[in-house]
Amino acid sequence: MKKTRFLVALLAGLAVSLSGVVQSSAADKTTLVVMIRGLDNPYHANYAAGAKALGQALGLPVDVLSSEGNSQKQFADLKAEIAKTGGNMVVNVDPNEAPDVVPIAKMLEDAGVYWVNWWNKPDDVKLQTYPHWVGHIAFDAVEQGYFNATELFKTFKTPNKGSIIAIQGMLSNNAAIGRFQGLQKALKEFPDVKLVQWEAADWDTNKAYEVTKQLLAAHPDVDGVWSANDNMAIGIVAALKEAGLAGKVLTCGTDGIPDAFDAIEAGSQASTEFMDSRYQAQLGLTMALAAKDGKLDVKAISPEHRAFLIAGTHVTRDNVKTFVAETVKVMPTYDLKDFYSKWVAAIK
């Protein structure tokens, strides 16, 4: 009996509080939203920095959402954001994994929110089905793997001749797969370079360190260690240093985190490709904002410009100093008038 009474009281309380709800009064200013995968690495943190800078310039509020690698949280947080702003927002998403894109697309379509997507997208999902999906953009991962591999091969005692080991990212990740394809393309081009063994280190510095250490014990005479990103390169450099190979055997990376630039300068890393997530955030948000303000007619964009690859910046020992001073340390003013200034290819 008591329980029943309690539940009735509870329901009544809920009903009262529900009746007090005022229907969504939309925020008057458009909120700029970036959804990223985590807050604990510089690449993603730069997304936030870029978005905040843009928000300041335009006088618009910025919200940074982080999924912590959890797809359900990603959806839930985005929905919460839609609720919060009443749908008056534009979104720049770095989806957790490719399959997350469809529900996000549906959710934002229903809410009438213009948005831009980065990196991951199921192949057979067409943007044309979703009028509010302004663009899908990615860096060219195959090219990244290829470029870094060729730079690494150059550093061998006999350039382009020798053996390497490779440390992959998370096997389940598109960027990791693309970069590894790039490596294989390079290996085909330079038949004198042998890949003796590869392991996956899940983008994790510590794991890369451990795996490299073990591989170096098995193959002490390699000429280079190919790495799929800079985070792992840090671990690889530490392992090489321990083996007394720092500066003799080099590694490479992608992303362009500060430590990678230091390593390139110090001569323990051959190259990296800088992907400016500040630019990513600003480009995506500006495109979505333009669509929302009617300045960009989404329907009129050609398919090649709805889904496309852009180029990153190659960083090697030759340009690292100036690049860091001019681009990394200061927030550059990006050319946001032409959305397609870095366009290299369409995504099929």
Binding site: V21, Q23, L65, K84, G86, E97, P99, S172
Partner: protein
């Protein structure tokens, strides 16, 4: 000499009266109070928190956690724990996408059956090999996760031709999303199972006093196997729903559900020692976590701070709702 005994008698009486009053308050009531407090705070912070859109969001995402937590509840009710739900969810989520492509609607029963089998294996390791469930499921969790990678080492997306099969999960009836309905139906079924069936009652008795249940002729091994099978079944449902919502599977998607499901069960006031608590407690525990998760975003609490706050709220929640009278030694 005269006074002493009286002191000794009266003091416990006052305490007893107080205890009786406290005794009437069940853990679940305290959880509800917590929910009301958090809900009020959130809706003051942003009135959109109680908009229909957001309530639908909370309910449909809460429903997924609810199903996972209900499964975990079975393992906890019999005094064990299931750390393999993450692996099962991941495996089913990738399996389901493949199966839908090749066998259509048959994917649903096959996946659910797989969940049952995986749960049964956990049960057998506990009851026949006699390894504590914590270790057993930690081990099988690793093995099942590997299986998920064998099925697909990377997230896979369903072909758009197959989208029709996902409507079971993704559609809505009169504006109420199917996920929420599935959650509700599961909730009711499990409520009914525990309330109206012999096997359901056995789970409580085995959790409450396994020796007594055994001496009363209960098939202990069968009861525990059933509990783990239902846990596996719920995990399989979560896997299917996640695949459905995302139109694709992912071999790591389940990881976050392992500890979250335990947290949802415990915050509802269920002790890890087993035999207490039930579906209603789990419902409110899940609601509490879902409200927090959603509310912190709606109110706009700094993303950098949300994780820490969630941890604080879990400890607070358990501190308030945990029924210490039933467990003299707290481990």
């Amino acid at each position: 000499m005269e006074e002493k005994p009286r002191e000794r008698v009266t003091q416990p009486d006052v305490r007893k009266a107080a205890m009786r009053l406290i005794g009437r308050v069940k853990p679940v009531h305290l959880t509800i109070v917590l929910i009301l407090v958090v809900g009020t705070f959130m809706s003051v912070g942003n009135k959109e928190f109680l908009s229909l859109y957001n309530i639908d969001t909370i309910l449909s995402f809460g429903a997924i956690l609810l199903i996972a937590a209900l499964g975990q509840m079975f393992a906890i009710l019999i005094g064990g724990i299931d750390l393999s739900v993450g692996g099962t969810i991941s495996l089913i989520s990738v399996m389901f996408v493949f199966l839908v492509h090749s066998v259509g609607y048959w994917a649903y029963p096959i996946c659910l059956a797989t969940g049952l089998v995986l749960g049964y294996i956990n049960g057998v390791i506990l009851t026949r090999v006699k390894i504590p469930s914590f270790i057993a499921t930690l081990g099988t969790g690793g093995i099942i996760t590997s299986l998920a990678y064998v099925v697909s080492p990377r997230p896979i997306s369903a072909a758009s031709d197959d989208y029709g099969y996902f409507a079971v999960v993704n559609g809505s009836v009169w504006g109420v999303s199917n996920v929420f309905i599935i959650g509700l139906v599961t909730f009711v079924c499990i409520l009914a199972f525990l309330r109206f069936s012999r096997a359901g009652r056995n789970i409580y008795f085995v959790g409450s006093n396994i020796k007594m249940a055994w001496m009363s002729g209960t098939d202990i091994a069968e009861t525990r196997n059933v509990a783990f099978m239902l846990c596996g079944l719920c995990a399989a449902m979560v896997g299917i729903i996640i695949s459905g919502v995302r139109y694709g599977g992912d071999p790591v998607v389940g990881t976050s559900y392992v500890l979250n499901s335990v947290a949802a069960v415990v915050v509802g006031g269920t002790a890890l020692t087993g035999g207490t608590g039930g579906v209603v407690s789990v419902l409110f525990g899940t609601l509490f976590l879902s409200l927090l998760d959603n509310g912190m975003n709606v109110v706009g609490i700094d993303q950098y701070f949300q994780q820490a706050l969630l941890g604080v709220m879990i400890i607070l929640g358990v501190a308030v709702t945990f029924d210490r009278t039933k467990t003299p030694v707290i481990k």
